[in-house]
């Protein structure tokens, strides 16, 4: 059996298993709490795995391994921001959100403020962040399948994107949060197992001596010991001060963005109590931290055993470094058959990874559309639960279709910056609104609306005039040049601007909601009146 056939077989097994779970989940999805929040009946450990599943996207697994393989240390630097970010979620957001919200990020804001404007703002932001993220993942799926299955035609890539989209729509519309959460759990277990297996084989080859692995990677890299130091990808000497500021800008967006990502926030609603939300974040931190440590070995392992030339020849961004490493280490340890089998396994795991993440994003955006925009803003809450869920399912279909079309259209464009942009928007718009609303007594409707729109607008505006969109060879539009903002990452400016807009909007408005603040403060810290779990 060829590697391609084996990859496809394993992938189909994953699809069959997850579809079976989805059908099972649909039988246990009876009301809105089931559909949006999985009945709030997942345990802390289960939700912790699902957090890992939602968070460890192809951008982390393939992207960071590739970044390390090609640029050495800087890839590792990138992954650290993704991990440290979870402390913001743990200390300031997860438990308080679980106690005061129901289904979406907007619930927490609407608690204190005038519901229609803040739900509109939160809905717009949720859908914006999710679509940016979705397009990046969809384009990645197309490129990946082309490389791993050896198909190069545009039609085959488009077909892959359509297939991924169709599956994610099915998971969400049929299985709701229950089905999607189980898909995340299965994916997290597979991804961790695959990464641990390859890591152990690589370490085994080096007698578990990290230093000699690093030495080999540096020797193969062509730049020597500099490969093990910061400065190969970010803030290179030629970039001077701009490069260094860009590095800080990126770091800030990564650390502050996670706790504002809508598909991550809704994870905290799937457990019975705030204490389980805490437990799930701690599990998540353990899993995600372990994963990035494994990625460190995978990345340097790929640099040492495959070599950067061979990796860059397959994919300029290094996205196939992990699968290439799997094949090489399999060959070295078990001969050609071993290489084929290991590559097939890792390729299938990579597909599963993409599929699970896009399902989480689709669920977050369709929930927000149905619950916030349609249910509360457009229909002013005069909607039965059944009607709202029907809208949520249609919304998943439409958002999924949009993501498929944009994913296919963006095939030839360089959309790698969209993931960092999603983090920047989340950090600049959503995080200020959430933190102010949980911790600042004076905060009000005008403040929430200005924080969200101000944050999104400044992040998107700055990126539109940055070198990632025009004026450089790797830009979205390489043939145009309307860039004047020097940084590739807007966070350094847009995050303070988001907080500033929220503050300014608040103090310029007379509205005060002291009684409502008392309620959200007491409820968020004690769990009084919090939504409870439903078990069917």
């Amino acid at each position: 059996m060829s590697q391609q056939a084996l990859s496809i077989t394993l992938f189909l097994l994953f699809v069959a298993a997850t579809l079976a779970i989805t059908v099972w989940a649909s039988r246990h999805t009876k009301d809105a709490t089931d559909f949006y929040a999985g009945g709030r009946s997942f345990s802390g450990a289960q939700n912790g795995l699902a957090i890992g599943g939602d968070y460890m996207s192809a951008a982390s697994f393939l992207g960071i391994a590739g970044l390390i393989a090609l640029n050495g240390y800087d890839g590792f630097l990138y992954s650290i921001g993704f991990l440290v970010a979870w402390l913001v979620a743990l200390l300031l957001v997860a438990e308080l959100l679980r106690n005061s919200g129901r289904f979406t990020m907007a619930d927490v804001l609407a608690f204190r403020m005038s519901p229609r404007p803040v739900r509109t703002a939160a809905g717009v932001s949720t859908i914006t962040v999710s679509i940016f993220y979705l397009i990046a993942q969809m384009v990645g799926a197309g490129a990946l399948v082309a490389l791993l299955l050896g198909v190069t035609s545009e039609a085959a890539k488009a077909a892959t994107i359509a297939l991924v989209g169709a599956l994610m729509i099915t998971y969400v519309t049929v299985g709701g949060m229950k089905g999607t959460t189980w898909v995340q759990i299965v994916k997290a277990v597979l991804l961790m197992s695959g990464a641990i297996l390859v890591t152990l084989l690589v370490l085994g080859r080096y007698g578990f001596n990290i230093s000699s692995l690093l030495g080999d990677a540096a020797a193969q890299s062509g730049v020597g010991e500099a490969f093990l130091r910061p400065g190969q990808a970010y803030a290179t000497p030629e970039e001077g001060l701009v490069g260094r500021l860009d590095l800080i800008s990126l770091g800030l967006a990564l650390v502050l963005g996670t706790a504002g990502l809508p598909h991550i926030l809704i994870r905290f609603y799937t457990v019975p109590t705030a204490r389980d939300a805490r437990k799930s974040v701690i599990w998540g931190i353990g899993i995600i931290g372990t994963f990035y440590l494994l990625t460190l070995v995978l990345g340097f392992g790929a640099a040492a055993l495959v070599g950067s030339e061979e990796i860059a020849a397959q994919n300029e961004a290094g996205n196939t470094a992990a699968p290439q490493l799997a094949e090489r280490i399999g060959q070295l340890m078990f001969g050609d058959v071993g290489g084929t089998v290991l590559l097939a396994i890792i390729a299938a795991v990579a597909f599963a990874t993409i599929l699970a993440v896009v399902a989480g994003l689709t669920l977050a955006s369709s929930s927000s559309f149905a619950h916030d925009l349609y249910g509360h803003v457009f229909k002013k809450g005069r909607l039965t639960e059944g009607e709202e869920l029907k809208v949520a399912r249609y919304a998943a279909l439409v958002i999924g279709a949009i993501a498929i079309v944009l994913g296919i259209l963006a095939q030839r464009l360089n959309v790698a910056f969209l993931v960092a942009l999603a983090f920047a928007v989340a950090a600049s718009g959503n995080l200020p609104a959430i933190l102010y609303s949980l911790f600042w007594k004076r905060f009000n409707t005008a403040g929430a609306v200005s924080a969200i729109y101000g944050g999104i607008a400044s992040a998107v505006f700055l990126v539109a005039f940055s070198p990632v969109v025009s004026g450089s060879e790797e830009a979205l539009f390489p043939n145009a040049d309307f860039s004047w903002f020097p940084l590739e990452n807007p966070g350094l400016i847009s995050i303070p601007l988001g907080f500033l807009c929220g503050w300014l909007g608040t103090v310029l408005s007379r509205e005060r909601n002291t009684a409502k603040y008392a309620e959200i403060e007491v409820r968020s810290l004690t769990g009084a009146g919090a939504e409870s779990a439903v078990y069917h």
Partner: protein
């Protein structure tokens, strides 16, 4: 739930109670300084990676340099803060939070 009695809502009265004030103090006394510490620690790491290349590139032993150890220490500090918070929450917050919650629910009846 927001039944109004003599002065303000149930929540306003509970918010003013010593038990709740103590709960909030204990929560913030951990969460706020810890946030400042880990953010400063992370930014220090990023700034050193950008500006102090010589220091970060200094070899400690074999091919292990300061940058790698500093990066791994970020993992250690993240795990450590998560563990300390879990311990703080279960010993100092959870019991008190339950007591205040019972009071709210009693009051609201």
């Amino acid at each position: 739930m927001t039944s109004t009695r003599d002065e303000g809502t149930v929540y306003e009265r509970v918010q003013g109670s010593t038990d709740f004030q103590e709960l909030r103090r204990r929560f913030r006394a951990f969460a706020f300084p810890a946030t400042v510490v880990f953010l400063a620690w992370y930014l220090l790491y990023v700034v050193l990676s950008g500006w102090a290349r010589g220091f970060m590139g200094a070899t400690l032993f074999g091919h292990i340099n300061v940058a790698l150890v500093f990066g791994l220490l970020q993992f250690v500090s993240t795990f450590l803060i998560a563990w300390l918070y879990a311990r703080h929450a279960s010993s100092r917050l959870d019991g008190l939070a339950d007591r205040v919650r019972d009071k709210v629910e009693e009051d609201a009846r």
